[in-house]
């Protein structure tokens, strides 16, 4: 049995060794990615250096131990020696690791200093996390700002539809940045702590309410880079991905101009909608669309919510009684308790539509219709 034990422990080591060997291969589902910037490549190389140092230490230590387990078995006739200390050896194996540590610390410190130098950035983007979406604002083009939400359908998450290639790693509006320029991110939060992580840039920075953290990247190649929120931020922490598209400088400027004019057009459209009434049918259709992206995660598809953390809308006083319409609108704009504020994310007509939807869906058949101008009144405090 002892022989078998020794053998099996040997097999176990071989298992971990072969696993280690595959790690070294540059397969992205096994290892860190070298990424898209010089810094991310430096981090990758640092990681590999550390990894191989650890492998060598492991092989030496375990090698000595396994040699001893095979050669110094009692069943093989080994008699125990009598030594139990040796100052020279003990000093040596205290000093040698110390030297190895210094060899590790030097390149690590160099990379760290480079990573934390956010000066002389050409583009600055304010990244704001909130439950459970990201908001991006281009500081140099203040008209351009938008929310970025998970685009994967609920049906895929609920296993009703086949899952797409970028399941849980796709958003409705990706962040766009230029290649070849130093882009600085200012990172903060509206509610709990989130963490903005894009592995290909080697950026992971906490978004903390009341604080503004800084980070930067300079992306070499155009492409689509995906990441996720990395700090537990509540129920849908697993469902707030990040997608960054890096475009060449010319394409980037074109995109930016397009965004600016789109923002202006949306503003004009909003003013125009204030003056007109939408039909019940149009409100309900748009309302369901808004509900399915913004509200469904907490209040659920059947309006039943997950009480008491996430109350039901079906049959709720706020969503049924006529005098509560302004309160209903106000909660959506400004949030309430655990509920985040949607005033910045949704347009007035979208809020009107979703309020109408919530007052007429799931048997809340109030017949109430809410228009963009009603929302405007609440915003203006009337």
């Amino acid at each position: 049995m002892n022989r078998i034990s020794t053998l099996l422990i040997g097999v176990m080591l071989a298992f971990s060794n072969s696993a280690i060997a595959t790690t070294a291969a540059e397969r992205s589902n096994l290892n860190l990615r070298p990424g898209a910037s010089d810094i991310s490549l430096e981090v990758y190389e640092l990681h590999m250096l550390m990894f191989w140092i650890c492998v060598v230490i492991g092989v030496i230590v375990f090698g000595v131990m396994f040699y001893s387990m095979v050669m110094h078995r009692k069943s093989a006739g080994a008699k125990a020696a009598n030594f139990h200390e040796n100052v020279k050896v003990e000093v040596l194996w205290t000093v040698i690791p110390f030297v190895i540590l210094i060899a590790m610390a030097w390149p690590a410190a160099k990379t760290l200093i480079a990573m934390e130098d956010t000066s002389e950035a050409e583009v600055t983007i304010l990244v704001t996390g909130s439950q459970w979406k990201w908001h991006y604002k281009y500081q140099d083009n203040p008209e351009v700002e938008f929310f970025s939400l998970l685009a994967t359908q609920q049906e895929q998450i609920q296993n009703k539809f086949t899952k797409g290639e970028n399941y849980l790693l796709e958003v409705d509006r990706p962040l766009v940045i230029p290649t070849g320029k130093k882009v600085r991110f200012l990172i903060t939060s509206d509610d709990v702590i989130h963490s903005w992580w894009v592995p290909d840039f080697a950026i992971k920075k906490d978004a903390i309410p009341g604080f503004i953290n800084e980070s930067w990247t300079n992306v070499n190649e155009p492409g689509i880079y995906r990441g996720q929120c990395a700090e537990l931020c509540g129920k849908d922490h697993g469902f707030m991905p990040i997608v960054v598209i890096a475009k060449g400088p010319a394409e980037y400027s074109a995109w930016l101009q397009e965004q600016e004019s789109a923002a202006r057009r949306a503003n004009e459209e909003e003013q125009r909608l204030l003056a007109m009434n939408m039909s019940m049918e149009a409100l309900m259709t748009q309302g369901k669309k808004v509900y399915d992206t913004a509200c469904i995660a907490c209040h659920q598809a059947n309006g039943g919510g997950l009480p008491p953390m996430f109350p039901a809308l079906k049959g709720s006083k706020i969503a049924i009684e006529k005098q509560n319409i302004p309160v209903h609108i106000d909660y959506i704009i400004n949030g309430k308790n655990n509920m985040p504020a949607f005033g910045k994310q949704l347009s007035m007509s979208e809020i009107a539509a979703v309020v109408t939807y919530e007052r007429n869906a799931w048997g809340n058949n109030t017949g109430d219709m809410v228009q963009a101008k009603d929302v405007n009144l609440v915003i203006n405090g009337k």
Partner: protein, 536 residues
């Protein structure tokens, strides 16, 4: 006397013992009112085992949900409750009480003391513990569910954005903390005052040394945890703003306070393990422990360093670069004394006369797998790389290697090592070997691939994941279920041992075992060392 069982040991003909035990009730009341260190040790160990099974059941829920992409079994809010309560139960309900149980059983016997120094407090420190966990577990059935903010309960998720069950969470952590502090005081007072004549500090077994240092760590940091939960309580319910930026508070300060407790806590869960391994390896190598003095110094240095490395859990919070460097270097430094320990164990085995009984198998697995966890810890210390590793499954792999194949394997090794001394009978060796091999293989299928999915970009604490992580997660779940089932073998073995089934053992039990605990009869009588032994 040597063949008497625990239950009838107090009918011993020895006049001194009989006098003490005259009024000891039988049955359930004996266990309720007991002040005997062996009884209380047994209670702690059983409690830890039950908590281990409950916390393990929660891990099974987690792994079942993560078996495939998509949401199948639980909703995300419940998933978060499972990860949170799993962590709390395993740390405060399984690992820590198990070590306290071992301390209760073994420390008096190892230093030649008749009992713990403060026996009534000993009883009390155990008996408040079940209430703490009843409160914590019952919060899962509240409206809105139990705590869902992770065992680290970062503010403001745990304050402005948590459910009402937070109050129960805070109260239960307070009770756990009081229990730990009382247990630690008892250990310190016992070791400092009750050593047998001639048992100088540098003659104490390493398990005693590591527990002494652990107890000081506990006394130092558990009040810090109590402060943190109290501030969470007042922030949530009484309108203070310790961690609320809008009220002039600081959410990052929470993390500083929490990890000032949390990092020494990590060593609280591993130092006693070092003591256990340092007892087992020499026994089955039939050779004295190599570098006893350096083991003591290494343990003390680890404990001291543990107070100046806390912020390596917070590299992504945006600290000044100078602070990041300080915490990086200080953290790397810990690998030196930890390395010394591993080298000493290997040197103890070197040119020994090795046999591989079940405790030794667990001890060897500990050395290899804990070292793997230690090496990934060294990688995590490197700040620029930590930006990539932080809050991914790489971290989950790291701390499960040090806590499951580290702390937990050492506890199992300890139980196998001392169980024959406790019951007087050899445990079922075949079952023990089955338990070892099933655990060893499944635990690596469970935790090793977590390194890969973490490096590939899977964040921790998510109930659903992108498709590229699907293959490994399936294997991780299979490993998890197998590891969970393997522990039922252990349960069967323990039940069998408690029913005193097996071959009687000698006082020494293991051929190479040395120390006072092996000089008392097997099973250890209800009272040992009523007259102190003389240490040469």
């Amino acid at each position: 006397m040597s063949t008497e069982t625990l239950n009838d040991a107090h009918d011993s003909p020895d006049g001194h013992d009989a006098h003490h035990d005259h009024h000891i009730p039988k049955g359930i009341l004996r266990w309720l009112f007991t002040t005997n260190h062996k009884d209380i040790g047994t209670l702690y160990l059983w409690f830890a085992f039950i908590m281990f099974l409950i916390g393990g059941a929660m891990a099974m829920v987690i792994r079942a949900e993560l078996f495939q992409p998509g949401l199948q079994i639980v909703d995300p809010h419940f998933f978060n409750q499972m990860t949170t309560v799993h962590g709390l139960i395993m740390v405060f309900g399984a690992v820590m009480p198990a070590f306290t149980g071992l301390a209760n059983w073994m420390i008096p016997m190892m230093i030649g003391a008749p009992d713990m120094a403060l026996p009534r407090m000993n009883n009390w420190s155990f008996y408040i513990l079940p209430f703490a966990f009843i409160i914590l577990l019952s919060s899962l059935f509240m409206d809105g569910g139990g705590p869902a903010f992770g065992w680290t309960f970062y503010a403001p998720l745990s304050t402005q954005y948590s459910g009402d069950s937070t109050a129960l969470f805070v109260f239960s952590v307070h009770i756990m903390g009081i229990s730990s502090i009382m247990g630690a005081i008892n250990v310190v007072v016992t070791i400092l005052n009750m050593r047998a004549p001639g048992m100088t500090y540098m003659k104490m077994p390493l398990f005693v040394w590591t527990w002494l240092i652990t107890a000081f760590l506990l006394i130092a940091v558990m009040p810090v945890l109590a402060g943190a939960v109290t501030m969470v309580l007042t922030d949530k319910f009484f309108g203070t703003s310790f961690f609320n930026a809008a009220g002039g508070g600081d959410p990052v300060m929470f993390q500083h306070i929490f990890w000032f407790f949390g990092h020494p806590e990590v060593y609280i869960m591993i130092l006693p393990a070092f003591g256990i391994i340092s007892a087992i390896v020499p026994t089955f190598s039939r050779k004295r422990l190599f570098g006893y003095a350096s083991m003591v110094y290494a343990t003390a240095s680890i404990a001291l360093l543990s107070f100046i490395v806390w912020a390596h859990h917070m590299f992504t919070t945006g600290m000044p670069v100078a602070a990041e460097m300080f915490f990086m270097f200080a953290t790397m430094l810990i690998s030196v004394p930890t390395g010394v320990k591993v080298f000493n164990w290997v040197a103890t085995m070197w040119r020994g006369s090795l046999t591989f009984e079940v405790p030794m198998m667990f001890a060897i697995a500990f050395i290899v797998l804990f070292t793997i966890g230690g090496l990934s810890g060294l990688m995590l210390a490197i700040t620029p790389a930590d930006f990539q590793y932080h809050d991914t499954y790489f971290v989950v792999a790291h701390f499960h290697y040090v806590l499951v194949t580290g702390a937990l394997f050492s506890i199992m090794a300890a139980v196998y090592y001392w169980l024959p001394k406790w019951t007087g009978k050899m445990f079922d060796i075949t079952l023990g070997k089955w338990h070892f091999w099933c655990s060893l293989i499944s635990v690596n299928v469970l935790f090793f691939p977590m390194h890969f999915v973490g490096l590939a970009g899977m964040p921790r604490r998510i109930p659903d994941y992108a498709l590229q992580f699907a293959d490994f997660n399936k294997w991780i779940s299979i490993g998890g279920f197998a590891f969970g089932l393997s522990q039922l073998i252990f349960l069967a073995l323990i039940i069998k041992a408690c029913r005193k089934i097996g071959e009687p053992v000698s006082d020494q039990v293991w051929e190479g075992a040395e120390g006072l605990e092996w000089e008392v009869p097997s099973p250890a009588p209800y009272h040992t060392f009523s007259t102190p032994p003389l240490i040469k």
